[in-house]
Symmetry: C2
Subunit: 238 residues, 2 copies
């Protein structure tokens, strides 16, 4: 609550962008300014409707959201989970239309994303963020296409651990998990009933603990190994 003198407590969103690219002062100032009066939205609020013209990119500051695809018969697929520090509707071409709608899964706080023109490092951070998002979409495809239910759950839990760690939102291999099993099922192309059963198996095997709002992975490295998925990297180190 009380900011320290040297390093004021940072918004997870800024922590994440800073982890992607070392931002210059212009970028940091712009971010601090933009995030100041955040816009708060209730759960289920539709941040972006599919087919709608995208106005300006937004930055997710707090809470979780999701890109979803609804079929006419009521089925729905969560395409991608959005966490604090993720960009919403960032896009580099003219006259863009949202390819999917985006809804808040919890109460969220968002702000307008500062203009990339303000700082080259900020522009690069946005590009990195998009590259990560792209990588997560590919990961999701492999998850749905090749993994069984247990693997899907474990793999998603690992991805969330990685991503939340970037924003400083994970400690001791565990993080706050605001989703219901039903929502996880929508993300993994499973039924909530089956997610429930497989969670019990993972719990019994000691691979995953999820009680209350907290999810922990006692041994992420072993779990990752057992999945056989190649590591995801997005840009070369310097």
């Amino acid at each position: 609550m009380t900011p320290k003198a040297a390093h004021p407590i940072q918004s997870p969103a800024i922590t994440r962008l800073l982890a992607l690219v070392p931002l210059d002062d212009a970028a940091l100032d712009a971010l601090r300014l933009a995030t100041q009066p955040p816009r708060r939205l209730r759960a289920r609020y539709e941040l972006l409707a599919a087919g709608q013209q995208i106005r300006e990119a937004q930055l997710l500051l707090r809470g979780w959201a999701a890109r979803v695809c609804d079929l006419r018969d009521g089925r729905r697929q969560i395409l991608h989970l959005l966490l604090p520090g993720d960009l919403i509707g960032s896009c580099e071409h003219e006259r863009p239309l949202a390819a999917s709608s985006i809804i808040a899964l919890t109460e969220v706080e968002v702000c307008a994303a500062p203009d990339a023109a303000l700082s080259p490092t900020l522009r690069e951070a946005y590009a990195q963020s998009r590259a990560h998002e792209q990588a997560h979409l590919l990961a999701q495809i492999t998850r749905l296409g090749q993994m069984n239910a247990q693997e899907r759950i474990a793999d998603l839990a690992l991805e969330l651990l990685d991503r939340l760690s970037l924003a400083g939102l994970a400690t001791n291999n565990s993080y706050a998990m605001p989703l219901t099993q039903e929502t996880v099922a929508d993300a993994l192309g499973l039924t909530s009933v089956h997610v429930n059963r497989m969670l019990q198996v993972l719990r019994k095997d000691g691979e995953l603990i999820w009680s209350g709002r907290e999810l922990s992975l006692p041994n992420p490295e072993r779990l990752q190994q057992s999945m056989g998925r190649p590591a995801v990297r997005v840009s070369a180190s310097r």
Copy 2:
């Protein structure tokens, strides 16, 4: 073979880009020049290795390729099919690493993609192409997450019809299909045995005809309706 005087026969790749954005003469000239001595590669050639530094974007001129993700235990998922006119390794940020490998599924011809700086319309065409690719990734997620085997096959066949039509490679709701059932299975997260059985059902229902190298969809509109998937649009009309 013999170019007509007024409209020389166009490469399907150029036809596609032209369908995305009305290209100016600078763009067309650059494309005609670049595509001239195409590089020809055998099937299974690896156009891009995962984790490898991306050098320059390429343009697929002829044949089909795929982005694939291989798991250590031998499972493999085709993330995305690449058709003539698609860009390979186009990307707007510094020091990019390929997030997945790309392999030729048939013999292919590629060329270096002309520099976007040569023409604003060319840059816009590339951006549109990337937006389409993104939309196809989302479509693939919904396919794998929510559809049963029969729907997946039909939905993929419809997507291919749409995409090949852009390049002028489809007539009468039918197109040349160079993939094996095994490859289709890898793209749809199914086994080739099951793909085979479901193809028989679709054939019996008169929804899909695929014999030899030709695939036709007698009634794409009806099929699309039955799938309940919202239409995909990428940019606003003028």
